[in-house]
Symmetry: C2
Subunit: 141 residues, 2 copies
Amino acid sequence: MTGTSEASLIDRCRRSGLRITGPRRVILEVLQSAEDHPDVEELHRRVSRIEPGVNIATVYRTMNKLAEHGLIERHMFDDGRQRFEPAPAAHHDHFINVESGEVVEFCSEEIERLQEEIAKSHGFEIVSHKLEIYVRPRRSR
Amino acid sequence: MTGTSEASLIDRCRRSGLRITGPRRVILEVLQSAEDHPDVEELHRRVSRIEPGVNIATVYRTMNKLAEHGLIERHMFDDGRQRFEPAPAAHHDHFINVESGEVVEFCSEEIERLQEEIAKSHGFEIVSHKLEIYVRPRRSR
DNA sequence: CTCTAGTTGCAACTTGTTCGCAATTAAAAC
DNA sequence: GTTTTAATTGCGAACAAGTTGCAACTAGAG
């Protein structure tokens, strides 16, 4: 999520043979500095704040390109809209706070292991997985 | 998923105060005998085979009503369209075969338990969750 | 049998996303 | 630097899934 990362998105795009244009540069900046999991409209809003005139179709196209090249990760939570995060180093799952919409990442070795085990016992090989836990702040206690 | 069930969907609708009309009766039949997780278009197709003339908007509205009353469960897999299954007795998760699109149910006490634990440690209370494992048949071995 | 609120078909609409196309442009090749 | 050309862009139109307004219809309570 955050800019803890290594090589800038821009560099990684170049290495993937993607052209760095004006609009794209801004989109990448926005993505790189995103601390959350914005959807396309939100990205477009942030981009427009920096440089108005970038069409939302361009944002869509750019996100598709980036996803194709594995440079970002696309999520589809229950609100039915795509959300993105710069491809994280390690896999993780998500808490979605149903009250605020906020997304929190977490990971559990143990759950991953159990999944492997269960898949195997069903004769499957895991391609990918998605664990979303819809939560609310624990009251009282 | 299958008709292993108890009280018919129709009865449960009546008990929920939903009217049983012609179109609705057919939709419920189709749902009840579904062995899979059909989307609205597929449901509509099946309904139309039994009784043509039912509008797809009616299927949408009926599914919304049923979901409101907890009589069916709505899923949103990565294909981005709603899919449904008659509300199952017990919670379960899903394998989605990425090659065939087929959906297989499974459940794991242990994973559920771990989720609780992790949520708690983050100060959350679980509202619901969703674990989807995208798989393919295990080759060779 | 009557009456009314729930339900339906239909067409129009909304929302999120993609597409065609002509104009622009990054960056590879001179 | 200049040329070249394939990738990218803006724009408006087109899509796809799902929803809605409304007048007509009807299940089921009384």
